[in-house]
Subunit: 309 residues, 6 copies
C-alpha cells in the first residue's frame, strides 16, 4: 500500500546493519497516531533533507513488521511552504473537549466583562487575526500539558472559569481576573512555532513567553485609545508574575489579589492536566504511574469503583 | 468609669519612670477592640499573676490619655477556669461572613456527598462534639490568615467550594476532594489551644497540625465499621501533602489529582485571605501595603473605580 | 540440571533476536546470589504472569553460558500465597552481624530502661507479634542501607547503642533516647511490603514511614493504661523529626535534646552503612568507588596497612 | 538664621514629650548634606502635608543643638510642581567622576560602533529627549550602588568599557556587547521616579526594570526602519538575562557569549561599587565595615601603605 | 566601694540626658558575672580609649541602683599589654566539666592510639607550646557553643570519645577517627584572638578555621620525618570536610567513613551543646526556650520527673 | 600500516560478538586527534594491563572501517615511566593562542608589579621549577574549560589582564589583583596529575584545588624573608574565595574589592571559554548548541554577518 502524506518527524536516527548497510529509522506522527518508518536507499542524500521535529512529505510503501505497520520510505523531505493553521489541523492532534465548546465558553467570558476598557481590549484582540488565530490554534506547551491544537485556548479558558469562581470566595476585581487569566500565557504564540511541529522559536528560547507576553500585550494596548495605564500595568504584572516566584522565571512575585488568583489557578490547571497526560501514557500498573522527571514524583490514580458502587 | 471585665493580654511590659517608679504597660483585647492599660501599683505582685496571651480578669478605671481611652488597672490576674467555647465568643473576634451562612454551606457540602463511606464518616464527625465544636469555633491560624473564631470552618468550607468547582474543569473524585478539603486542616484543633487566647499547644509545637491531623482522622475512621482502607489512605495522603512540598513541612508531595487540587486551592485561599488581612491593617498609602515579612513582599491594592465607573 | 525454585525477579525485559524470535531476559535472586535466566517459549503467555520485584516460582534447566550459569526457563509465575516471614528467610539475604547477637543487644537495651511507662510500652510491643515479627524481619530500606532481612532491627539497635553513649557526653533523658532510637523507623514495617521482595506498599508511597510511624506508635500507646501524654508527645516528636529538616520530609525539626541525638546518630548510621554497601559493590579501583547518585559523591576507602603495619 | 529651601525628606516621625507636647522630628537632605529639623507648632496640620521621600519646601530657623545645626521648622509642604531634571540637580547628590567625562566616554563608545543598525539605534536614542535626559540624570539604584544623579550613565558606561575590554580576551561581537552594556539597565528610568527623591514608581514595583527595559527597547526599535529582528532579539535577551539566574529575577539565563559578558561585568561593577559606598559610610574600625545586610558579609578594606611604601 | 579591675566590655553606648548631659552606659564582664557601669565625666576623652569587646582596666565606685549594683566609672582604658593565657583565666568564664578531667581524657585518648605516625604527630603537638597552650585555653566558638575557656578542648575530646564509640558499630579506622576528631577544629586557635575577649582575628575573618586548620596541620606534619602522605591527606580531608556540605563552608563533602563519622558527631556535639546553652539563658517558660535565630527554632526542655519518679 | 605509538585512552570497553568472540573497543587520543581501536586477541591478558585515562603504548595495524581509520591493536600497555612535561607535549593537545605569546604576557604582567614583596614572591615562584613548569604546562580543568596543555597559564593570564583593566574603573590595589589573578587556581597543579592523561589526583579529590592552593601559596611565602603577613592573608583570601559563594566550594565569600574582582573575572573567563568549547563540539544546528549539563542551558551562537556586512 502506498503512503504519500505529511507527517511530523518525532524521531530520526541513522544506523548500520551487520552487513554494513546504512539505514535510517524514523518515527512519524499525524492525526491518526505514530508510525515507524525505515529508509533503506539514498540514505546519505535523504538524511540531509529534513530534521527531527520537521513537517515532512513522505513517499513510502506500508508493510507489517512484527504485526505492526511500518513504512518503507522512498522519499522524505521538509515542507518549506508555510502551512496555514487550517491545513495544520489535518495532521496535528486536537484537544479533547472540542473546540466549539471551548470557544463558546471563551465568548461567554468576554460577554460577562463589565469594564469598558477591558471590553474594548478584547474587541480589538478578536479582530487581529494574527493574534486570535494563533491563540485559538496553539498548544499550551511543547511537552508538558495541553500538548495539542487548541490547548492554549482550552487552558486559558479553564483558568478564567476557575479564577472567576474563586473571586466569589476570596474577592478581587472580576474583570481583571478574567482578562489576566485569558492573557497570562499569550506570549506562547511567539515562544513556539508550530508550523513545523510543536517547537520553540529562536526568540522563544531567547526571551521566554513571559517577556514575549508583555510585549504582545503592550502592542495590543497601543492600538486602543486612552487605555488606562493602571489597568495596563496590572495586567502586565499578572502576565509577568504568573509563575509565582523568581526561581520559576517570574521577574516579580504576584503582588495583588488578582495576580495571586491567576497564579494559583494556572498552577492547578497546568499541573493537574500535566499529571493526567502522564497518567494516560505512563501507568506502571493499575494504580501508579512511572516516575515523572519534571514533577519529581510518581502519581497515584484513584481506582474506579472505590466507593463501592 | 470602672471597667471590670475579661480580656486577652496582647502585650505586656514592665518599665521604670525617670522618678524610679515601676509600672506595667499592657494591651488588652476583647470583642470591641484593643485598649491600653497601665498598672501603677502592686506591680511586683501583679506581674507574676499573668502572662502575654493569657485570658485575664481586669479591674480598672478608664480615663482619656491623648484623646484615647486608657485603663488604670488596679487588679489583673489569669483566669484558670476553663471557659466553654460559647463563653469565649463573648470577647474574641468573630469572622466576617457570619457563622450561620458558613455552617449552612458546610451542611450543603455534606448533603452533596454520594459516597456511602464518606457520608458515614461525616455523620460520625458531626456527632462527636469534642471535634465538631472545635472545628466550628477555632481560627484557621494564630497570626496569618482567618485569625478569628470560626476561621477554621470558614477556610475549610471555602476550600471545599472552590475545589468542587475545580473538579468540573480538571476532573478528580468530587467526594474525596470535598472530604479532603474539609479535613485538611483538622489537626489545627489540637495544634492550638484557644481557651487562653490564640496560642499553640505544646503538642502543637512538637508535632504540628499535619501529624496531629492524621491522628485525629485515624481516630475518626476507627469508629466506623469497615471504612475502606484505600479511601482512608487517600484522605490521610491529602492531609499530609496539603502543604505541597517537603520544605513547607509536608512529608509527601501531593501524588493524586485530588491532593493536588486541595493543595493549590488551600494555598490560594490562605494566601489571598492573609494578604487581605494585611491590607486591612498595614496600608502605607492608598495603593501599597507595608512589607509583609512572611510573604516577603509589599502588596498592591487595586484602587476603587479603576474601570472609570 | 533442573532448577525449580522460588526467586525474586530483579530485572525483566522482552527482546527480539535478529531472526525475529521474541525472548525474555530475567535476573533472579535468592539467598545464594543472582542468576540470569532466559525464556524462549510461551513468551507472550508467561510475560503477563509476573512483574519485576515479584516473588516467583520458576521451572528451568541450568546451563553454562560464557562460563556463567544461566537458566533456561520453561515456566515462571508470581507466588500469590502469602509467605510467612520464616519462609521468606529461605531465599532473601540476611544481615551480617547475626540475628541472635542483635536481638540480644535489643533485649539488653530494654532491660536497661528505668522509666515504668517506657518499660510497659516495650513489654506490650514485644507481645504484639504483628509488630515485633516485622520489626525483627524487615530491612531498614529498599535500596540504600541495611537492605537485608533483619536490617531494621540492626539499624535501630545500633542507633540506640550509639545514642545511649552520646547521652553520657551531651546529656538528655536516656530512656527517652533509647525508646526514640528503637522506634524512630517503626513506620517502615507499614511503608514496605516484603512478602513479594523488598517493595514499597501503596500506603508507604502515599504516606511515608514518618506518618505511618506515629500512627503505629499511637496504636501502641492506646493499649497501655494511662501512658503519660507528655512522654507520648515527645516520642512522637522524635519519630516525626528524625530526618532533621523539612526538606528531607520531617514536618518538624528536632526541638529537644533527645530528638537531636536520635537525628544525628540515625544519619550517621544510615549514611555510613550506605557508603559501606556502596563500597562493597562499586569500587572503581582500590581506593575509589564509582559516583553515588543519591549521596552525590565518590567515596574513598582507606587502604589496609596505611599505618605501616 | 532663616532657612527657606527645598529638601528631600529622608526621615519623618511624630513624638510626644514628657509634657505631652507633640512634635515632629525630620531629616532633610540637599546637595550640602543632611540636616535635622523639628516641628513644634501646627504639628497636626503640617504632618499631613508631606511624606517621607517627598521633595518639600521648608521654612525654618537654624540653631545649634549639641554643636550640630538643627532646623526649627515653621512650615513644610510637598512640592507638587514637577521639577525639571535641571532643577533637581540643585539639591540632589551627583556622581564623583564628573558628568562631562562620563558623557564623553559614552560618546566615544557610540563612535566606535561599526554595525549600521546599532549606530542608527543610538542615533535615534540620543534624539529622544524623554529617554536620553533620564538616562543621563537617573541614579543606577535607589539604595545599593551608584545612588546619585548620573549614576545610571556612569554604571552603564563603566560596564561597556570593561565588557569591550573583555571581548579582546574571550571573544564575542563587540558592537552587541557595547549596546547590551549601555542598555541593560535602561528600564530603571521607568522603574524609578526621581522627581520627588529617589523612589520606585508604581509600575516599577509592579513590573521591575527588566520587563520595563524590554518595553522601552521595543519602543526604540519600532522607530527604526527595518531593524534586524535577530539583533533586536539578542539585545532584548541581554536585557532580560543580565541578572544571570532566575532566582535574581531574570526570566532567562544568559545564553550567548555577549549576554554572559554583560552579566558578569554588570555584577562586578554593581557589587564592587556597592561595597565601596558601604565602605564610605560604614567602617567599624580601620579595616572592617559593619555587616552588609544585602550582601550578607562584612568587608575588609586593604590598608593604605600595605606594600611598605 | 572602689572597684579597680580588669573586665571585658560587652556593651558600649553614648547617650544624652534630658538636660543635655552626655554619658556612657557600659556592660562589663569578669569571672563573677556581668555588671552595669556609667561614665558621667570626661566622656569625650574616655570614649575613644576603648571599644566593645576590649579588655579594659576600670576605676570606679560601686553603688546600688534599683537594687542592683552599678559602677560609677571614673577611668576606663584598653589593656594593650598582651596577657598570658594564665592571666586571662582570672576573669574569663571557664568550662563546667573541669579542665583536669578533660585533659585526663585527652591524654587517655592519645595513649590509646596505635598508629606510630599518629603517635608521633601528637607527641610533637604536645611539645609545641604555641599550639597546645591555645588548644587547651580557647573556647570552641565566639557565641554559639562551648563559649568559655577550655571549650575547644572539651568539644574536641567529646567528639573523639563519641566517635571512637561509633567506630565499634559502623567501622572505620579508629586512630584516624580519633586524630581527626581532636584536630578538626584546630584552626580556631588562629581564627580567634582571645587576649582581648572572645573575638575573631583578621585572618580568622578572611580565611576561616577550616583553611587555617589545614595550614596549622601542614605545619605540624612538616616537623615530623616521613609522615605518610596518605594519612596526611586523609586528616586534612577530615578537617576541611567536617562541616559536611559546601553550603556550610566545607570545600569538600566527607568522602571516607572516618570523615563522615567526625562530621556527624561534631554536628551532634556542637548543636546539642549550643541548645543547652540557649536553654540556660533563654527559657520563655518552664518548657520552651525563646526562638533561636541561628537554629531557627524554639526548643523544648523535657520536664524533670516526667517518668513519675 | 603499522602504528606503534603513545596515546591516552579515552574510552575502554569489553564486548562479545554474536559468535561469542570477546573483543575490546578503545578510543585513543594523541596530538593529531582521536582514533578508534579494537583488540581481537589476548583480550583477557591485555585488558588488565591498562585503564581508561592511562597513557599507553600501542602496537597496531591501521585499516579503514566505514571510511574512517581504525587500529587493529596487537599490544597495549600502561606507560609506567614518568614522562617529563616536555615529552607529554608530543601527544597531548595544546592551547590555541600559542604558548610563547601567553608567556610573554605573563612576563609583562610580572614586570608591571610595583610592590617589592609581590615582586620577590614571583621572582621566587619563577625559580622553583617544580611549580613553574607545571603552571606553564597544566590545563585549567579536566573537562570544562581550557582543557589543553598550557590552559592553566592561559586562563590565569587572561583573568589577570581583564582584572587589571577592571581596576581602572572600579578601583582596588592593582598589584594584589594581578597576583591574586595569577595564583587563584595554582592549586590545580596538585589537584590534577597529567602524566597519565588529564586526571584528578587522589589528593585533588580529597582536598580540592582551593585547599591545595593555599598550601602551595603558604609554601611559597615561607621561602621569602619577612613577607608581610597582611598581604599573605589577603592573597590567601583571594584564593579561597574565588568561587564566590559557599555552595560552590569557597569556605569564604570574597570580602575585599580585590577578591571580588578576581571572582567575577574568573567566572567570566571560565564560563565563556567553557561555552565556546561547547560550541565547538556540540552545535545542534547553526544557531543552537545541545543542552549543557553543567551549565543547565543550551547556548546560542550569534550568526556571522548579522550586521549585514
Amino acid at each position: 500500500m502506498d503512503v504519500n502524506d505529511l507527517f511530523i518527524v518525532t524521531k530520526k536516527g541513522t544506523f548500520t546493519t551487520k552487513n554494513n548497510t546504512k539505514y535510517m529509522s524514523i518515527a512519524l506522527r499525524d492525526t491518526t497516531g505514530v508510525i515507524e518508518g525505515k529508509v533503506w536507499e539514498r540514505v546519505d542524500e535523504l538524511q540531509d533533507l529534513f530534521d527531527k521535529n520537521d513537517l515532512v512529505h513522505v513517499k513510502s510503501k506500508s508493510r507489517l513488521y512484527q504485526e505492526k505497520p511500518q513504512l518503507n520510505i522512498t522519499d522524505i523531505r521538509r515542507i518549506d511552504d508555510i502551512l496555514s493553521l487550517d491545513e495544520l489541523k489535518a495532521f496535528l492532534p486536537e484537544g479533547l473537549r472540542g473546540n466549539d465548546l471551548v470557544r463558546e465558553e471563551f465568548m461567554g467570558l468576554l460577554n460577562g466583562i463589565q469594564s469598558p476598557s477591558i471590553r474594548s481590549l478584547f474587541a480589538s484582540f478578536k479582530e487581529q487575526s494574527s493574534l486570535i488565530d494563533k491563540f485559538f490554534a496553539y498548544p499550551a506547551s511543547i511537552g508538558v500539558h495541553h500538548v495539542y491544537l487548541g490547548g492554549l485556548l482550552e487552558h486559558s479558558v479553564a483558568v478564567a472559569q476557575m479564577a472567576k469562581e474563586a473571586v466569589k470566595f476570596v474577592g478581587g476585581d472580576q474583570d481583571i481576573v478574567i482578562a489576566g487569566s485569558l492573557l497570562h500565557d499569550i506570549g506562547k504564540i511567539d515562544e513556539m512555532d508550530i508550523r513545523g511541529g510543536f517547537r520553540y522559536s529562536d526568540k522563544g528560547r531567547l526571551l521566554g513567553h513571559i517577556s514575549l507576553g508583555v510585549m504582545i500585550f503592550e502592542d495590543l494596548v497601543r492600538k486602543i485609545n486612552d487605555f488606562p495605564s493602571q489597568i495596563s500595568d496590572i495586567l502586565k504584572h499578572i502576565i509577568i508574575s504568573h509563575h509565582g516566584v523568581e526561581e520559576w522565571g517570574s521577574p516579580r512575585k504576584p503582588m495583588c489579589i488578582e495576580a495571586l488568583i491567576v497564579h494559583y489557578i494556572d498552577n492547578l490547571d497546568a499541573k493537574v492536566m500535566g499529571v493526567r497526560e502522564h497518567m494516560k501514557e505512563s501507568m506502571e500498573d493499575e494504580l501508579w504511574t512511572t516516575y515523572h522527571r519534571l514533577y519529581e514524583s510518581r502519581f497515584y490514580k484513584i481506582p474506579v469503583g472505590i466507593h463501592g458502587d
